[in-house]
Symmetry: C3
Subunit: 257 residues, 3 copies
């Protein structure tokens, strides 16, 4: 078995490292971590205890400055009890909380602040400089522009696309802000600078061209904002479907154990 | 040359295994298989004869239960004469027929039943628990929700997005059923629970909010269902374009050799 | 440290090759190239000087004919000063100019001619047989059909989808032609055979069903073409936003140093 663990890397107790994995100098791996095969952990990465990093992932990917002088000077922090699935790439100079999860081939760029209990799906592409709260869930193939702000308990479903440029190409970057408990359904498109209010719902396939007030539904292309989400009925139960935390608790802090 | 083939793996005759590939215990590789470099074949995987597995693929990816006890107990079966292109990830506990193909970085999750002559394109993401017939073709970057049912000879073009949740987030999963010979054009979005009838056509960019009857065309956002596909004319020939099997045979069983 | 460099590969001066990388016979690597870990460079690939190839990339990927006889006979050329980010797959039988860049997990297929200063974003999928000019920028997750023609200084933003089949499935392939200085905003869909004129703008989320004349704006689903782009005002400056080269120069040849 061939391993490439730098003598200057710091491994905790009971760490498993798979075949052909590379752990560079000044990486710190917490106790009970499980690292599969062909993983690259770059210098300056700190991984919390009991985290799993699956095959072919690159953790602490180089920023652009590396390619001019081949020196790494950035740091990445990933919390405890996380599960980084195979093929994930996470840049350095980012900080991620505990109980983090990714799908396959996800990419997360530099200068992000990501809270606890966040999940980033397969092929989701977070472009960097984002502030992401706790219990935020990105499903598969979401595109998140730089400088996005996403508060707690936000759901972003597959193939949602953020934008930030009102007159492409330009040097502007109008950031999107999604407030807590908002839910953005699959295949919707968010135009530059829109703000989605607390508990709002963006319908599948909507093209959101202006702010969505709290508790409102945005639907269509371009999206119309009329209905209050509290008027939407769960057809199975005949009861109100929103605010969703009143009927949905899976993996949320209010879940009964 | 470094190889990591378990002594408990079972390799057929004339199997090529590339540099740095890992074949775990209780994997079975059929005669004349060609396995490129950096491939991981997990325990419990059975690959039919004359199948090619390209570089950086993970075949028999762990299910969630692996991460609690680090024991593999599932099985994956892939048929003969298949071509798994580089970067593909296929979970265990799935069964795939013969003459299967994938594009690059495709992901196929657990508990799928996939027939013969199926093709899954680059970045396509099949979320698991799906029933997929024979001669089904997924082009690039299709998102397929759990529990989808797709019959034979169905075509799904690039960036088609399935959905399953009528009141996101919820614990519902309204599955989509696509009947034989249906064709779903690029960039369309299928809302939860819709059923697409035999020989129907979903136009590019359509947002399908209700069932499409057999032989009907769905077009627009939200999709309108009016025209019969048998009224559509092939502009090149001046003849009827549908049902498509009457004019198209490439790689289909009715192709003349 | 384990390296797999063929004795028949030709490496220039001061080439760095990372752990576990494979360089096959008849590959040529220019002076001062930097090749990270787990890279595969196939036979017949020629890489210009001062190019960086990041981890887990496959450069010179096999065409379909390889899988019948396991012989490589194609050639790939990549220019100088390029940066191929991790997880990229580039097929052989393609030619790419200088100052090329890719994002992560990008895929570029065979028989493409790509000019200088081109950038191909994360998850972007170029299907082959394309002619791409100079200073063309594909952002993340663009799908480009075979035989597309894209002239100089064209911008294609995230999740833009090209199509080529007017009666899917068929053997037609109506190619898309995008003229110089056109800008195609995020999440738009281009129907088969459309031609986008010089300096035109396709708005985010548009479904383009017919040709867009030079300097026109296409917006909506289906896209309407009415306004001239020279009527669009940059809200920050109060000045005309288009033609964009009059106000935007970053990384363009007219940028003042």
């Amino acid at each position: 078995m061939t391993l490439y663990i730098s003598e200057k890397a710091k491994l905790g107790k009971n760490v498993h490292v798979g075949i052909n994995s590379i752990i560079e100098a000044n990486a710190e791996i917490g106790d009970n971590c499980f690292i599969e095969e062909n993983v690259i952990i770059r210098s300056g990465t700190k991984v919390g205890k009991s985290t799993t990093i699956c095959a072919n992932s690159i953790i602490g990917e180089h920023l652009m400055d590396f390619y001019s002088n081949h020196q790494s000077k950035h740091q990445l922090e990933i919390g405890e009890n996380s599960l980084i699935r195979s093929g994930t790439i996470i840049y350095s100079n980012t900080r991620i909380g505990d109980n983090f999860q990714t799908g396959h081939h996800a990419t997360i760029r530099e200068n992000c602040q990501i809270g606890n209990h966040v999940s980033v799906g397969t092929y989701t592409d977070i472009q960097g400089y984002c502030q992401i709260g706790n219990y935020v869930r990105f499903h598969s193939n979401v595109f998140v522009t730089q400088h996005s702000i996403i508060d707690d308990y936000v759901w972003i479903f597959p193939h949602v696309v953020f934008t930030d440029d009102p007159i492409p190409p330009s040097n502007y970057g109008l950031s999107i802000h999604i407030h807590s408990y908002a839910s953005v359904a699959a295949g919707s498109l968010l135009l530059p600078g829109v703000e989605l209010g607390e508990h709002c719902l963006v319908a599948a396939g909507a093209v959101v061209t202006k702010d969505v007030p709290p508790y409102k539904l945005a639907i269509g292309n371009p999206a119309k904002i009329e209905k209050d989400v509290r008027e939407i009925i769960d057809k199975e139960t005949g009861e109100k479907a929103y605010p969703w935390p009143e009927r949905f608790s899976r993996a949320m802090p209010w879940e009964e154990q």
